[in-house]
Amino acid sequence: MAQSQVRLGGLLLQHQYGEIVENVGTFLASKGSFALRDITDGTKLGVNEVKKALCVLIQHNMMDFEKNRRGLIEYTVHINKVLLITRYPRYIYCAKTLYGDVGEFLVEELLSHGQMLMSQVCRRVSDRITQALEEGQSMDEFQVRKTFVELVKTHFLQRVASPPSDSGDNADSETELQVMEKEMFLIPPAMDIDYSKVHSSVTSSSKRKREDGEEGDKVAKRPRSTSPLSDEKNEDAPDKGVYWHVNFTRFHQFFRDQSVLSAVNSKIDRYACEIVRTMLRISEKTTVPLAPTTHPMSSHEIFQNLPPELDLNRQTLGEYLTLLAEDKTEIVNKAGESGGGMYVLNMQKALETLCKASIESVVQERFGSKCSRIFRLLLMKRHLEQKQVEDMAMIPAKEAKELLYKLFSENFVTMQEIPKTPDHAPSRTFYLFGINMHQVSRMLLDRCYKAMGNLISRREHENTENRRLVEKSQRVDAIAASLQSSGADTTQMSEVEEMITPPERQQLNKLKHDISKLEQSELQLDETIFLLESYLPGSAAMVMY
């Protein structure tokens, strides 16, 4: 697993931050923690280049550094955080659905810059929105700040824990080592204005206008200020030193809840989904985030918290809860009879169910429905002998044997030997076939990483193969654009456009289609990766940091 992770992480770093960062990142990811000197020796890069790469990695919260016993600073890269790069679009989209365009821009800026001051990011976002708006309108920075505070309140953003300072002159550096947990989501006093006073009527209308304008050219590149951070003076910022970054765990929790909800929705119906949503909302206050099960809540409590527009009476709620509790997915468990029945949400179980379903569909799509039948049978009965599999799956013996062995050789099925006699003679041994969910998920996760790596390198290959063509079309586009702005007539325009021959245009279209298909696969593969990661215990997605 680690190997494919490192490969994928390297590819991602290369695309995101360039080859040098990739070299440094893969070196550290595969070898462990090292001091600056060892990194330059190990990667055969110049000191300055390594320094730059380390700065970039630290800035994007992918790296930790620590003084070792000899007083040298050692750098450690977190490959798990590097791998999250594939999920960036999803975070941005999630912020958009929850907090509108402002939320989207805020998260996008924070992701592309790693960590930023609140004042910095708010200014940039309001500038960007103002640019996108029509002439004479502007986005109020206070509105942006309000959204920012909301994002922090819901824990989607968090402070960057300030690392140990290496200057050594700080007497109280011990206390400064980390931002305390409760401060993680504290808005610095300088920025903490009563945002409720700012009325939002003006901007809400302008926001809608913006969206109208955007509908048409959603795919088109949105204007983005390219001015590097260095242009802005952060010395005089009122919230100096308090950096923010995206709280991935909170996003993961949201994704997890969303997928569980949609599973309930498609399995039972909308009402059941709303009930589970209500239970989740109640548990937000009582349960620590990411706990496998929630605290028990009574049906009375659930009833009181149901959204009023749902219009469910108490009896129907009771029926729904019984239905949910008796469902074999075991997302909702009954914990007791008091208070009209106590119920618990079992998120770990829910994830397992989802994971199982997606593994089943993997088997179905890769080996066909007969294999899938055998697989489900084994999941249900846990351990079966070969003979039993043949009988119970109702598949002819020869074929069943073949399919079972195929699954076995592809590591989807494990085998347990139980010898009757101590000599392990094959004729006197039970061979029990079964499925180890953790092992299968881990294997699939590894495959997913590999596949993701392959997708990215294929995309890169397509790009390099057609580089000449792409560059040409970019040049032609630039010429056409400049001609258009200077007011050329149509004949001239068509002349320029004819510089790209029809076969070339065909090839360009094919390239574009292929690349978007590859990227689409990357995005959807990431959903599987997320599911598997969050199911596996101790995996990256569901660890608080």
Partner: protein, 231 residues
């Protein structure tokens, strides 16, 4: 079972009786594969089409835009251009553009970053030039004895240096030259930079000419061996 017992039964090719598995003799056993599996094995089942829809399209657009913008961002470190096959006159001017990107391109908050990562922007150093001939001179001698092809290059450089000594306030030329010098001295220079940066910065490069890291000593020894072998 398996592996461990195998050592005993040397007479037989396998540790167990293959007849118990239903094979008559060894020839019937499936052959072991000796070649790697094909790169693109034939697909038995066609993959299902990707999900489509507004959400998927928007995510795709987001991804492409984000990817594109990262390329332009200051965090994307472009590698220094590889060594040229030949030195061109025009290189001098192209390098100027690159030298401007020598710094980070963005300013981290140094309170939260390790201080050692700070890259000092190079400033033109007059004093250093006076030291150089002696350094590169020894280098030239050593290499020259080995009949290295770098001899010509070094000479060229010396001439260039002499020329640039004459020129007065072209900063970028200086930087370029420094780079060349760095190339020539390789490791040694880097090491010094790591520890003596402070000194160089303040112009006390007296130590530079004085300091002998012992590398030349070994080189000289090697040459001695080559010249007259010691029996």
């Amino acid at each position: 079972m398996g592996g461990r017992g195998r050592g005993r039964g040397r007479g037989k090719p396998l540790s167990f009786d293959i007849e118990s598995l239903g094979f008559q003799n060894k020839k019937e056993l499936p052959k072991s594969k000796e070649e790697p599996p094909p790169l693109y094995p034939p697909l038995e089942f066609k993959p299902v089409p990707l999900q489509e829809g507004e959400e998927a399209n928007y995510l795709l657009a987001l991804k492409q835009e984000f990817r594109g913008s990262m390329r332009e961002s200051p965090y994307f470190i472009k590698p220094q251009s590889a060594k040229k096959d030949i030195e061109r006159y025009s290189d001098k001017y192209q390098l100027n553009g690159q030298n401007k990107r020598q710094g980070l391109g963005w300013t981290p908050d140094w309170n939260t970053f390790p201080k050692e990562l700070r890259i000092r922007e190079k400033k033109p150093k007059r004093l250093k030039l006076s030291v150089k001939p002696s350094l590169s001179g020894t280098k030239l001698k050593v290499k020259g004895q080995k009949g290295d092809a770098k001899e010509a290059e070094n000479k060229l450089k010396q001439i260039l240096q002499a020329e640039e000594d004459g020129e007065d306030d072209d900063d970028e030329d200086d930087e370029e030259e420094e780079k060349k010098k760095k190339e020539a001295e390789g490791e040694e220079e880097e090491e010094e930079e790591l520890y003596d940066e402070e000194d160089i910065e303040e112009g006390t490069d007296y130590a530079l000419s004085y300091f002998d890291n012992g590398e030349d000593y070994l080189d000289a020894d090697d040459d001695a061996l080559e010249d007259g072998p010691v029996y």
